[in-house]
């Protein structure tokens, strides 16, 4: 197992190099001169703009720019943004915020998603089941920003029970609503996934055998059904972490959260190659680590899966 993990970690290196190269190439291929755009309708002289271009290596060929970046990355110097701020500083302030948002969302995914999923999976009552199915379908169909705005208005402005934005106040009270919104789609999916898994497993042969042994319903569900049902759910949640971190852009915009999503968006719009690639690298690493953890977790939970020598 240790060897397996080691190999997986080694594999991340070519993945990162490949991804950063690809992203850098894409940013480079974007039309438009980011330097001119910095000045809008009041451009300085060509010479002044040339100085800036030179400072950011924008006057060099693509491959040189990429190598500059790579070299810097190895020494953990990711360069500066156009504003003059160190990229690592940008990452250091925005990453933890998005991470907190994502973790909080995952927490709700587990609590509400798995919890409700189990309840619906076990109970056969039609009414509650249909209600859950309908509402999850509705939530999945509504775009996140619509959901966000509606909830923001309803709970923040009208009813005043939750704060409308997060801004500086990165704490549980302020992040509650955005996390729930962000988790919305995932929660709906987890409920459905858990429900179908539980339903399937409730009818599984080994569950019947467990009952035949004389186990009561509660034990059967908690010990047998749950353990087997949660395996694919855990995989999904683990993979979701990466997706949540990268995809929180909309939620961050609606609730004014200074996270990676927004940084990435504005960096792309401004054509800040170094910043884009650095942020993407961070996200790629998170994704890879999350997936690795999930795979390892799977092996831990399912004895049929063992990596390395059989």
């Amino acid at each position: 197992m240790a060897r397996y993990i080691g190999l997986r970690i080694l594999q991340t290196i070519p993945v990162i190099i490949g991804t950063t190269f690809l992203i850098y190439a894409l940013v480079f291929a974007m039309p438009g001169d980011p330097v001119r755009a910095m000045f809008g309708n009041h451009p300085p002289s060509e010479a002044a703009m040339a100085v800036i271009r030179h400072e950011f290596h924008l006057d060099e060929p693509f491959i040189m720019q990429y190598l500059h970046f790579l070299y810097g990355a190895l020494t953990f110097d990711f360069g500066k943004t156009f504003q003059g701020r160190a990229v690592s500083d940008v990452i250091a302030t925005s990453l933890p915020i998005t991470a907190q948002l994502a973790f909080l969302a995952i927490f709700f995914e587990i609590l509400i998603g798995v919890g409700l999923g189990i309840i619906v999976g076990v109970k056969k009552g039609k009414i509650f089941d249909n209600f859950i199915l309908m509402s999850t379908l509705v939530i999945i169909s509504i775009p996140t920003f619509v959901l966000g705005f509606v909830c923001q208005f309803l709970f923040g402005v009208k009813m005043r029970i939750l704060p409308t934005t997060v801004g500086n106040y990165v704490d549980l009270y302020h992040m509650l609503m955005p996390a729930l919104i962000l988790a919305g789609v995932s929660v709906s999916y987890v409920i459905r996934l858990t429900r179908s898994q539980v339903r399937d497993n409730m009818n599984a042969d080994y569950v019947r055998t467990a009952r035949a042994k004389g186990l009561d319903n509660k034990t059967v569900i908690l010990k047998h059904v749950l353990r087997n049902s949660l395996l694919p759910v855990i995989t999904y949640i683990g993979a979701d972490l990466g997706a949540l971190m990268g995809g929180a852009v909309v939620t961050e915009a609606v609730f004014n959260i200074n996270g990676i999503g927004h940084q990435l968006y504005s960096a792309i719009a401004k054509g800040e190659g170094t910043l884009v690639v650095s942020l993407v690298t961070v996200l790629v690493m998170i994704y890879i680590i999350a997936n690795l953890i999930v795979d390892v977790l799977y092996a831990v939970l399912d004895p049929r899966i063992r990596y390395g020598k059989s």
Binding site: N203, A204, D205, Y206, R208, T209, A210, R211, A212, K213, G214, L215, D216, N217, T219, K223, H224, R227, N228, L231, L301, D302, P303, R304, K309, S310
Partner: protein, 679 residues
Amino acid sequence: MSKIIPEASETLLDVQNLSIDFDVDKRKVHAVQGVSFTVEAGQKVAIVGESGSGKSTTAHSLINLLPGSGHVTGGSIKLEGREMVGESEKTFVQIRGKKIGLVPQDPMSNLNPVYKIGKQIGEALDANNVDVDHDIVQKVVDGKLEIQHSDDELFLGRNARRKIENEVLKIWLAEAKYNVDEIMQKVPKESQDNLSLRKDLFNILVAAGVSEENASDIHSRIVKLHKSMTVGSSIRIDVIHTLQKFGISESKATQIAHEHIKGSEKVDRIAGLLAEAGLVHAGQRAKQYPHEFSGGMRQRALIAMGLAARPRLLIADEPTSALDVTVQKRILDRINRLTSTLGVAVLFITHDLGLAAEYSDKLIVMHKGRIVESGASLEVLRNPKHPYTKKLMNAAPSLNATRMISESTSQIDKSIQKSFNVFEFENLTKEFKLPGTKKNFKAVDDITFAVQRGKTTAIVGESGSGKSTVANMALGLLKPTSGRILFESTNMDEIMKSKKLSKDFRMKVQPVFQNPYGSLDPLYSLGRAIAEPMEIHGVGNSKSRTARVKELLELVQLPSSIMTRYPNELSGGQRQRIAIARALALNSELILLDEAVSALDVLVQEQILHLLNNLQKELGLTYLFITHDLAVVNIVADEVVVMESGKLVETGKTADIFKNPKQEYTKNLLEAIPGRNLI
């Protein structure tokens, strides 16, 4: 001290007029109608029927574990005199495991893959609050049930066994006139406590001053003693008897037993239960997961689970249908012995009449939800009264001793000269490289035999025998590692290399596989499925092909209107007919039937075998019949090839093999055919 349980004199299980319905797509299906039967304490009852007869449903209703929408609509189930129909789930939870145990059908899907075997058995103990110190021995004496419960039923624990063996060792040393203390001083300290378990006991004793002769004698006796006592299973009284058998005086044996045997821990008891079910190295096995067990081992684990709480009735639901025939025999024997010893009644569910007859006292035949006949097993077997029972009897391969005879007329053109042997296999070997090991795995090892034209040659073997690999090589799907295959005197190598020759080959040799549900493309209409081989080989045009399809359907006795239908509308037997029709589309000469009837009910199986037989006579077909079921071989094959672990064990004419098997393995296989000895 034994107690006589008063209610034990009543019938253990009394089912009267039981009816069970299922709700399927808003219709009601009457799965069981008006079923009545009884099971006495300690009695073995078998319910026989085909799929859909309601036998499993009846059994599961006894513990209220009907699947899906099933529910009891009428009748009564009395367990030990108590009415169970309408009782709450809570009540059923109490009786499950404790009063009625279940050994389910499919060993893989019935074990939770994520928990260790030992843990799952432990669950059965915990759920029923089983006392892991004492055994419960139920004996039926004069029709009354006696439950014994005394300290003589204390289980042997690991530590206890170790200590007892050590004491016995010392006794034997003393008997051999050695000074025990002196010897023990010369034994290295770390070995002193577990001498009896050590493989190098001989060396240690010799080093301590014991003569080689004595040391070897003591060592071998200790090993025998060790094997005779099972942790978690042997009870004190057993141990006393065992010690006596090994030459210890009764008083000494009693003293030793009383001193050391104080009962076992749960983990010991689990190992003991597994050992009772026939699992070797039970203690280690308990720490493994289901996917690390073989099919037979899993079934044993399920047996251990079913009997863990010492129920009064054990429901065995087709416990061996997924197992090889020799393993099957062992398992059923084990269940039989165990339940007899423990005084447990058995309700045995099966589709195999022979099996039912061999392992039960009373036989109940069910058909379409009703009981058509019941009575003492041998009686029913020898004098079946109901026509359905008679049909089953005639169709059961294990109860029929002779080759099927076809009454069709032959349509072969005898003027065409063809080779005597269709296939000749010479020193055929196939090796596979396995990942992680250095040695190659020999799936087929030096097989030599021939397939005569116009006859049925059967390759019979259990799983892992290599018969399927031989089949694949015969079809040209695998290349032999060494040896050669001659098809109509031409080397298969050459055939496969040449495009034309291989195409011809494919026209002449066609397979029919086991799974009727998997071998037909669900998106093809049946007519298209049958015509496909013709299309591929460019035979005829669309019109002639349709005509041929109609011909073939007639041959396999299916209406031609079925051409436009789809596989999902047919039953298993009908699908196999379609597969056979497809195999005949190109006027093939040899049909390779790979377990082609193993998945079919016994009556359907009989029809298909008859059909194949007739076709063989009419069209001069040669069959290469791969199967694990020796009983089927008896009624369809002319020549038999017996394989085991890749090697050829024995070959010859069916009648010869069955009357005078020469090899040990063949004898075992024949022994395992259930019901053979009853007729």
